[in-house]
């Protein structure tokens, strides 16, 4: 089965072509094509996952590292030459470019990490496809929406299947393009217009770093293929600052795509896109690709402590930073957006502190519950036509399914036993606890508390209490079944997907997806602290927004500048606008001015001088004296059409220049030629 894995990505690609070129001929704008294609992909992905799991578990049964590796390890027990085991890998590649003896290959591979991600992406994408039928119903660019969604899914799946950085980068950027197109879906409005551009450029900054990192890796290891790079780094071919530079540069790509500080600014704005897009791209899959990148590049990262520290601290800081903004955001999608940033920071932090499995596991569970939350918010927005939580309230009476699934998502995100988030968050905190980064462990606990708090706040404001906007409330209604069914399915996954890495299943997931052998001892202290933080968060949140135990106006006044700073998202956007963007545009304006008024002026003045020389003192009064006087003034003003004045049209001036040149030639020849 695994040799056909490329079909998983290829089928959505075909569906993109079909929808893009023929979609408008179909009754429903071609949405069914996409759904059918993704269903096939999901089935294939499930088969691939099952097969990979079977192979992996057989290997596990034979020996801790699989038969081949076990044999290799036996030969050279202390050798650095073997990369840590990542489970059974199936790889097929062909030559893409051949330059002399340099062979650049491309192909696909399936290993446990890929297999689980394939399953997750095709599942979430299918849910979003189905959900969008209801949410996007009647949209002017319905077909375009589905076409781009298909292309995005194809790119994301290709990214997961890629066995080398080139294919990875290609699909990475195509995803960026789709994200750009989907954020700008309603391009008539200024918001999406600006947001789409901001998203593309911001991520591109990170991408350039990533590209450079990949190029450095290429020069250091001589290959773009993951397995060759892993072999080369493990053999100790690269070391020291070079390795760190490679890792940090590659990490820049993740910073951009996964919206880590300081390149996080695009993700909240990306909420200008349709909500299903936010669910799929800006919560579950594309933004997680940054985390996937780090996981994929772990053979580079795990050898360099400095780079891992950078990863860990950036992740930790982002988690805390974004969570703090989420506590006061007023727009329901913005709350979820900042929550996404925060959770991505969590995952990045996990990878940084050495919790490979933990990071990937959280990536997986987060995809389920965050897409659930976004789709839930989409359902609410669909009903109310507003995103402002202060205009909501009391919706639990009218939207039962949405409410309950949303609450499940919230509990999962907050990390309450036994929902999915509990298990994955626990793993991350455990990894941090066992690592040298003790500070980050406490940051994690704090973030867990804040997460529970702001989600409780969102749920309370949206679904409970009294309706604050009665007009909107009157028109609210439960969404149609093609929107609620995906919610229910995702809720099931948000509830139970955590169990794959629980004692119930014998930590099956950790045995399946791992990087080398890493098994931290479970710690009741960690679990207890995390759960306590989550419960406390929920309690505080409900106390403030549900029971109204404190006067919020007074609290705001007491918080003062802190409140203002948080409300304004720590002024990051404003700071960027005032410094980077402004300097950038000013520099551009300067270069344009320079080009027109300095370089072109030189050109024109040279032409003008040539004209003066050609004429010598021809018509002394009119041209030279006047010309010199004007030349100083007019030359500075604007060179403009000065050059044309070489062409006086006076026949004799030309002839004079001609003969003068001949004489000059004679003299030069006589002097030099002797």
């Amino acid at each position: 089965m695994r040799e056909y894995a490329w079909l998983i990505a290829f089928i959505p690609f075909v569906s993109w072509l079909l929808i893009a070129f023929f979609g408008h001929r179909f009754k429903h704008g071609g949405d069914k094509i996409g759904i059918v294609a993704l269903t096939i992909s999901l089935v294939l992905a499930t088969m691939v996952l099952v097969e990979t799991a079977n192979v992996a578990m057989q290997g596990e049964a034979l020996g801790a590292h699989g038969p081949a590796l076990a044999a290799a390890a036996a030969q050279a027990p202390e050798m650095k030459g073997e990369s840590p085991d990542i489970g059974p890998t199936f790889d097929r590649s062909i030559t893409w470019i051949k330059i002399g003896s340099i062979d650049i290959t491309t192909g696909f591979q399936v290993d446990p990490l890929t297999a689980v991600m394939l399953f997750m992406v095709s599942l979430v994408s299918l849910m979003v496809h189905v959900f969008s039928q209801g949410y996007m119903h009647g949209d002017v660019r319905y077909t375009r929406f589905y076409a781009t969604l298909s292309l995005f899914t194809a790119a994301m799946l290709t990214l997961l299947l890629a066995d080398n950085y080139i294919l990875f980068v290609i699909s990475w950027e195509v995803m960026g393009l789709c994200s750009y197109l989907l954020i700008g879906h309603w391009f008539e409005k200024p918001g999406p217009m600006m947001a789409s551009m901001k998203a593309f450029i911001t991520t591109r900054i990170g991408d350039v770093g990533m590209l450079l990192g990949i190029f450095l890796t290429y020069w250091a290891t001589g290959s773009f293929a993951f397995k060759d790079i892993a072999a080369a780094t493990a053999a100790g071919k690269v070391a020291g600052p070079m390795l760190t530079a490679m890792a940090v540069l590659i990490f820049m790509g993740a910073v951009g795509k996964s919206a880590q500080f300081p390149l996080h600014v695009w993700l909240p704005d990306a909420m200008e896109g349709p909500t299903p897009v936010s669910a799929l791209i800006h919560a579950a899959t594309m933004v997680a690709a940054g985390v996937y990148l780090v996981a994929r590049s772990y053979p580079i990262f795990h050898l360099t402590g400095e780079a891992l520290a950078v990863v860990a601290y950036i992740g930790g800081f982002t988690a805390l930073f974004a969570a703090s903004i989420a506590t006061l955001a007023q727009d329901i999608k913005k709350v979820l957006a900042y929550s996404t940033i925060s959770q991505l920071g969590y995952m990045v932090m996990a990878l940084g502190v050495g919790g490979y499995t933990a990071g990937v596991f959280h990536l997986l569970t987060h995809a389920f519950f965050k897409s659930l939350l976004f789709l839930g918010s989409g359902s609410v927005i669909h009903a109310l036509h507003t995103q402002d939580m202060h205009e909501m309230g009391g919706l639990s009476k009218k939207m039962k399914v949405t409410t309950w699934t949303f609450i499940i998502g919230t509990l999962a995100l907050a990390g309450v036993f036994p929902f999915a988030g509990f298990w994955s968050k626990d793993e991350i905190l455990l990894a941090a606890f066992n690592s040298p980064f003790k500070l980050l462990f406490w940051v994690g606990i704090l973030v867990a508390f804040m997460t529970a708090y702001y989600m409780t706040r969102a749920v309370t404001l949206t679904f409970f209490g009294k309706p604050r906007d009665h007009h909107k409330f009157e028109h609210a209604h439960e969404s149609p079944s093609n929107m609620t069914v995906p919610l229910i399915i995702l809720a099931v996954f948000a509830t139970f997907s955590g169990l794959v890495n629980s004692p119930l299943t014998g930590n099956w997931f950790a045995k399946f997806v791992h990087f080398g052998a890493e098994h931290g001892e479970t710690s009741l202290l960690v679990t207890g602290l995390a759960t306590a933080a989550a419960l406390l968060g929920i309690l505080v949140g409900y106390a403030i927004y549900g029971w109204n135990v404190i006067d919020r106006k007074k609290a705001i006044r007491a918080a003062g500048p802190l409140y203002t700073a948080l409300k304004n998202k720590w002024y990051i956007d404003e700071i960027y606008d005032a410094t980077v963007v402004r300097a950038y545009m000013a520099f551009s304006a300067f270069t344009a001015w320079f080009d027109q008024h300095v370089i072109d002026l030189v050109v024109n003045v040279v032409g003008w001088a040539g004209y003066q020389m050609g004429l010598a003192c021809g018509d002394f009064d009119l041209e030279v004296v006047d010309g010199a006087v004007n030349g100083v003034g007019a030359g500075v003003m604007a060179g403009g059409s000065r050059i044309r004045r070489v062409q006086t049209g006076y026949l004799q001036a030309y002839a004079l220049a001609l003969f003068g040149a001949v004489i000059l030639g004679i003299i030069v020849y006589q002097v030099i030629g002797g």
Partner: protein, 485 residues
């Protein structure tokens, strides 16, 4: 084979000029299209017989011409020039079709256009310096008239600037060529033989400078670039297309065919300079483009930026970098040609190129706008399209040689992205303006010129080896001369 590439358009030009009455416009157009399609077919035939293994010149034609000074009629093509021939063949047909929009003095236009095509084929096939120089100048003259007669409001200024600039450049180049001729003492203008002579380094440095000035003006390399925006803005659409797609490549082709193989030692001393000006082109061009208010100027400056990658690739002189540079020449030909075609489409309808006056074209002209977005993304180096392969190879190849410069150049990509996105935001997005609401979308004739380019850009982005296998042997021989690995 190769002679037919040169003489068919030339013969057609003569036929149009001498035998076809000026009011038979359709006949003129039919002849022109035929005379550009036949070379395309010939190029296809050559491709089918192409020997991928050899580094030597293929399809050589060598006849004595002026034996007393050693001038020959010597044509031949290798991977580098053949890729340019493919580009010329494609773009000359498309630009010819695009020229159907020309509405006055068609006879002169098409005759001159075919002479221009002759010159382009000649430059890319000539292996004798004098022949090369003749074709080089032959391109210049029709270009002057094509800009000067059919151009925009400031056409005369632009045409003159273009003419004087490139003329001065090529005269200096001629000095360099003659210097090589006399210094080598071989009594031949044969480019291949001249590579075998040894030149003292001091002489080589100066000869290189002379050639550099000639080629750099054509590329154009900072600070000799200011003719380009003017010429582009004023030229009629098909001529802008040819100018951007093929003419700029003549300069870089000159470096690759003349400067680098004949004066490899001098090239080594010049390489850091190349890298620096390449970097300036990339970053400076992009920043200037960001502030342009005229759509065509923006595209022109983006050309300057992209040609910087070619220079950077030459400087690094690794197989990847030079392959990437040649690939960039090819890919930029397709992409910038396409962008100018697109700008021409909207200019024909609105008679303005001012970015501020255009808005909401996703809604008014959806097909055009989508293709415009495609071309912009291709130009900003979206992976999966041909521009990416080129930039990718150049950057990979250069990183280990000029580390700082390459890193800054890579940041230039962000600037390129930003000005294209800004342009798309302003022109394509937003509510459409009232005055343009009734505009018709791209016509079938325009689609005929655009669709092949879309397909080619995608093809060469996904399967670069189709072209790289052709380029590769010749690039390796250049690299070997430069002493690289």
């Amino acid at each position: 084979m190769l002679s037919s590439l040169i003489f068919i358009p030339l013969a057609a030009a003569l036929v149009i000029a001498l035998f076809v009455p000026r009011d038979k416009v359709n006949v003129i157009k039919a002849i022109s299209v035929t005379a550009t399609v036949i070379p395309l077919v010939v190029v296809g035939l050559i491709w089918s017989k192409w020997d991928y293994a050899t580094q030597a010149m293929q399809f050589v034609e060598q006849h004595s011409w002026i034996p007393s000074v050693g001038v020959e009629y010597f044509l031949g093509t290798d991977g580098i020039s053949f890729s340019m021939l493919i580009l010329t063949a494609i773009m000359s047909v498309l630009a010819c079709i695009a020229s159907f929009g020309i509405k006055h003095r068609e006879k002169e236009f098409f005759a001159l256009y075919l002479v221009l095509v002759t010159g382009m084929y000649g430059v890319f096939t000539a292996l004798d310096f004098i022949l090369f120089y003749i074709f080089w100048e032959l391109v210049l003259v029709p270009m002057y008239f094509l800009i000067g007669i059919w151009g925009g409001p400031r056409r005369e200024y632009a045409a003159l600037k273009f003419f004087i600039y490139t003329l001065v450049g090529s005269v200096v180049m001629l000095v360099g060529i003659l210097a090589l001729y006399f210094q080598s003492g071989l009594g031949t203008f044969n480019m291949l033989d001249l590579t075998k002579a040894a030149y003292p380094l001091r002489f080589a440095w100066w000869a290189f400078l002379a050639l550099y000035l000639g080629f750099a003006v054509k590329v154009p390399v900072f600070p000799f670039h200011t003719w380009l925006p003017d010429a582009h803005v004023e030229a009629p659409t098909p001529i802008s297309v040819i100018l951007a797609a093929v003419l700029l490549k003549m300069g870089t082709y000159g470096f690759l065919r003349v400067s680098m193989p004949i004066l490899p030692e001098a090239m080594k001393t010049w390489a850091p300079f190349f890298a620096t000006v390449g970097l300036i082109n990339i970053v400076y061009g992009a920043f200037v483009a960001l502030s342009q208010k005229d759509l065509k100027k923006l595209v022109a400056y983006s050309s300057i930026s992209h040609m910087g990658f070619v220079m950077l690739g030459f400087a690094a002189a690794t197989p990847q970098a030079i392959t990437g540079a040649v690939y960039q020449m090819f890919s930029h030909g397709l992409i910038s040609g396409m962008l100018f075609l697109l700008v021409g489409v909207v200019y024909d309808r609105t008679h303005t190129r001012e970015i501020a006056r255009l808005r909401g074209f996703y809604i008014t002209m959806p097909v055009w706008a989508t293709i415009m977005a495609f071309a912009s993304f291709a130009s900003l180096g979206l992976p999966g399209l041909s521009g990416f392969v080129a930039e990718f190879l150049v950057l990979v190849g250069s990183l280990n040689v000029y580390r700082t410069i390459t890193i800054i150049a890579a940041l230039g990509i962000v600037v390129v992205a930003s000005f294209y996105l800004l342009m798309m935001r302003r022109i394509l997005m937003g509510e459409p303006m009232e005055e343009w609401k009734k505009l018709p979308d791209a016509s079938p004739r325009e689609m005929v010129t655009l669709i092949p380019l879309i397909l080619l850009i995608a093809l060469f982005g996904i399967l670069p080896s189709t072209l790289i296998n052709i380029i590769n042997p010749s690039v390796l021989s250049v690299v070997a001369k430069l002493g690289g690995s």
